[in-house]
Amino acid sequence: MAYPFPSDEWLQVLVEVLNSDERYADVAKNWEGDMTVVIEPEGGDERQDLPVAVYVDLWHGKCRSARLIDMEQEELPDAAFTLRARIDHIRKLFNGQLDPIQAMMTRRLRVEGNMAYMLRNVPTVLDFVRCCQKVPIKE
């Protein structure tokens, strides 16, 4: 089953995946850091529902909480990391067409937060994206 993206349904399935995936639990066992992902419209995109943000609280291989943030109603949380990307780039990340490291090196995925921590924990970042790829997105 595929889920609309971004949506609460997609996010809840992602939480289930993160909290049941043994590989993620192992790879991310030392990760401590919540994250907000701001999903921006493509250039010229008239979508009214963007930008929107996804907040995930990731802690020692588990996702403690997750929610969508309506940026018109609420300020972004003060998370350890804030990532920003256009929705088409995020879709490419989640369907495997765009490598996460390449996305960061080209600033298609912009990172605010401690880059040193992220680079030391690249396997966790890559495995988080692998888990995201397990949740099918409705085209």
């Binding site: 990172v111 880059m115 040193a116 680079l119 690249v122 396997p123």
Partner: protein
């Protein structure tokens, strides 16, 4: 041109995305003509960066390093290496 492998011990990772990208772009900008930065592989567990270069000699590679990089990620091993391309088996 010969290939070289350089192993850096990463003592200090860049604090921001911009610092990381700008630093690597600076290296790449200098690496042209008789020197090419081909690939890098990061071993985050060991904090090591394995870099493959094509160059006439080691000096040409070292000239590409921006100031401070030798302290941030000192070279702890370097050697001229020989390429075995698996595509040649096809």
């Amino acid at each position: 041109m010969p290939y070289y492998l350089l192993v850096h011990k990463v003592e200090e990772f860049p604090e921001s995305q911009d610092e990381w990208i700008d630093q690597w772009r600076e290296v790449r900008k200098k690496a042209h003509g008789d020197v090419e930065w081909v690939h890098s592989f990061l071993d985050p567990a060991e904090g090591k960066l394995y870099c493959q270069w094509k160059a006439e000699n080691m000096e040409a590679i070292v000239k590409c390093f921006p100031p401070g990089i030798q302290e941030q990620a000192p070279v702890e091993y370097s050697s001229e290496i020989i390429l075995f391309d698996m595509l040649w088996l096809d």
